[in-house]
Amino acid sequence: MALPKGVAEELRRIVGRESVVDAPNDLRIFERDGSIEGAVPDAVVLASTTKEVSEVIKVAAKHRIPVVPRGAGTGLSGGAVTIRGGIALQVTRMRRILEIDPIAQTALVEPGVVNQELSLVAGQQGLFYAPDPSSQKACTIGGNAAENSGGPHCLYYGVTTNHVLGMEVVLADGSVQWVSGDTPDRVGLDLCGVLVGSEGTLCAITKIKVRLLRVPPSVATLLAAFPSIEAASQAVSAVIAHGIVPAALEMMDKVTVGAVEAHYHAGYPTDAGAVLLVEVDGIAESTRELMAAITDILANNQGYAMREAQTPAERDLLWAGRKGAIGALGRIKPNYYLHDGVVPRSRLPQVLSAVGEIGEHYKLPVANVFHAGDGNLHPNILFDLRDRQVLHQVEGAGEEMLRAVVELGGALSGEHGIGLEKSAFMPWIYSEDDLHAMHRVKDVLDADGILNPGKIFPDPSRKPIQLAGRTGLAVEAKWW
């Protein structure tokens, strides 16, 4: 596909000659995000201001050309992939932190600001931005808001939507709107809440006002080994049942621990069936007391080789292992397919045993690294793309794993989004009426369907997914 005649010139008049990419070789850079499927856009526009975003969308609206807002391209569900061609609207040049208000504890940022950079800058005033996706060194706040991203510390602090106070957005007709702001209980419908997590299908985000939190004066981080995933899952439930919600509660399986230890030498116990990383924060009194209680509970639930970080450097090393786990898996196979599903926490052992079986069936190694406290699993299917036959197997295994998640009462995605990757599976969890209600929102905000088409909603032109379940459970008809 190519843009209609003259459109590239229109776009160049808006953003400048150098800021429109349409040479075929240059476009290939924008073919993918962090997921499997790619598609080359017809043009990439590098916007620097809200006005430019607005003008570009007006041109797209006039010609009915798809527009896909794009941040760092680290997304894992194909949200930034231009599957129907059109314009990739790159906002990473909009990367100013416009304001940090230490009294109100808020920040106003442009969408291209990198997640970790915001916390580093806010840290100079004793504040931080809580949602911390593992890609936080690269991913942008705009992308986080579009996807409603999570992260390890969302167990206690909540996900992106709990921290976005308001946004400036450009709608499908190119109009610019503020939704919500820094006042609670605003008058009318909560459009901001609906737009966060809408994956670029309802608006492009041009400014975000977020809540910042005080950096806790004391942090304690503990690593504990368990003989099995079941034992570690049981320990997670026991901690929470005791009345403690830690800041983070992360699990890694044996495969992951082996790869991480070989890479980072963080002192992870490689003989363990599973490892838990537990963090609490607060003041010294509370972290000391809570960590003592947690240590007891873990010990009573088969935890061993427990090691608390004694210095910030040790803590960073423990977290480096967790946040860098996916990269370390490259030691096992060169490629991975990182899945995302979420189940009621008590179903973790069941779903992980199903995941293991599915991996064996397809003869694919699977590494699990995930947010155990939330029931949010991330099976990594490891493979070598040089084996041309393997991709089909990988996709089949992934679908079966998701099916198991749904059969156990779970949802398709905890934090990566539906995007392209999972749109075909939406009817697994939502009825036609459910999807129709969501589509009414889409039709109100983007009647012509120019914003990120082909995402979230099942595409009737793509193959329907029909898959026999493996867990032996029927999909629970009563979603309630």
Binding site: A104, G150, G158, V159, T161, N162, Q177, D182, T183, P184, D185, R186, V187, G188, L189, D190, L191, G193, V194, V196, P217, S237, I240, A241, G243, V245, G282, I283, E285, R288, E289, V342, V343, P344, R345, S346, H371, G375, G409, A411, G414, E415, G417, I418, K422, M426, Y430, D433, D434, L435, H436, A437, M438, R440, V441, D443, V444, I456, W479, W480
Partner: protein, 361 residues
């Protein structure tokens, strides 16, 4: 609330026993263009502009089941007509609770609380149901039942329909069921009080661990609630040096309301300015919210609202006699996105049968 329609005829009372029946009743009424007013516990029935019409009162009170409470998942699903107290009783058996303590209690239903967006002091620590509502099921005027979210604590599968219906005052549909992330009872929970007014409120808000609730009353009383690790709570409470509050102080506080009252919400640094000229109020300074027991005429209410709006906030009427409400209006300045909101209203309720005239759209 208006209890008769324009022709002076008393509205029909419907008390469906299931979500499906409720959806049918709603559809039947909508097909005949009858105006439908959803009713829960009636605790917030004064909220909003005076109804233009009311033909059917659609009660949710028979939908009062706990559908599922899996304590180890810390998730509960309920029908909308259950009262907050009944739900808390069920959760308490597992040492859990829903951190929601609205004013004008007891007797709120869950559906009513979600529709109105009413909250209480615990919002400071836990946020509002906007933050812990994880699934919602809504009956729409076309008779369909539409679900959003699910029963897991973290979920980005599709649009966040919970946000669409939370606080929408039943203008898009009638909430028939909801799922929540619930919380463990804190290990330790202490409330202390002082009479030190704003200065003490600010002091308590800046303690090394933040209070889970901090309420300031117009007579200068301050209630500070700390919860969490016993050692930490005890240290902070000792440093504050205030007296222990009486047992039952929060139940008493949650019972507050007035015949004429309003909710003021501003960026939190501006709350003191917003209530400076008012007589009787109670406030959550850490959240930027105050409730005002109105002792002035409608003109003065409008002047107060103008001031609050100039501070970047809103003043919403929670109850008043009809004539008074007509003079003040319930909502104040419309949001800049009003046009989009109207289109959403039309997409879900094209014949405007739900709560006609009552909400912003």
């Amino acid at each position: 609330m208006v209890v008769s329609n324009r022709l002076g005829k008393a509205p029909t009372v419907e008390k469906p026993a299931s979500a499906e029946e409720l959806a049918r009743r709603l559809h039947d009424a909508a097909s005949s263009r009858l105006a439908v007013v959803p009713v829960g516990g009636g605790r917030a029935s004064g909220m909003g502009d005076v109804l233009q019409r009311c033909d059917v009162l659609l009660h949710t009170t028979r939908l009062d089941r706990v559908i599922e409470h899996v304590a180890s998942d810390m998730v509960v699903s309920v029908e909308a007509g259950i009262t907050l107290e009944a739900l808390q009783g069920q959760l308490a058996k597992a040492g859990q609770f829903l951190p929601l303590d609205p004013f004008n209690s007891p007797g709120h239903t869950i559906g009513g609380l979600l529709a109105t967006g009413w909250t209480g002091p615990l919002r400071l620590r836990y946020g509002s149901p906007r933050d812990f509502l994880i699934g919602v099921r809504v009956a729409l005027p076309d008779g369909s039942l539409a679900t959003g979210g699910g029963r897991v604590v973290k979920n980005v599968s599709g649009y966040d329909m919970m946000k669409l219906h939370y606080g929408a005052l039943g203008s898009l549909g009638v909430i028939v069921a909801a799922s929540f992330k619930v919380f463990p009872k804190p290990l330790h929970d202490v409330t202390v009080s002082s009479r030190g007014g704003w200065a003490d409120a600010e002091r308590a808000l800046s303690t090394p661990i933040a209070p889970s609730a901090l309420e300031l009353l117009s007579d200068g009383r301050v209630l500070a609630r700390y919860s969490g690790s016993p050692d930490a709570v005890n240290r902070v409470v000792k440093e504050l040096g205030w007296e222990q509050a009486e047992e039952g102080v929060w139940v008493e506080h949650a019972g507050r309301s007035a015949e004429r009252w309003a909710r003021i919400a501003v960026p939190k640094g501006r709350l003191r300015d917003a209530v400076a000229d008012l007589q009787e109020w109670w406030a959550s300074p850490g959240a930027g919210i105050a409730h005002w027991s109105i002792d002035l005429d409608a003109t003065s209410v409008r002047a107060t609202r103008a001031k609050v709006e100039s501070l970047g906030g809103s003043l919403i009427m929670l109850a008043a006699p009809d004539d008074f409400m007509r003079e003040t209006g319930a909502w104040g300045a419309p949001p800049s996105t009003l046009e989009i909101q109207r289109r959403l209203k039309n997409a879900f309720d094209p014949d405007h049968v739900l709560n006609p005239g009552r909400f912003v759209v």
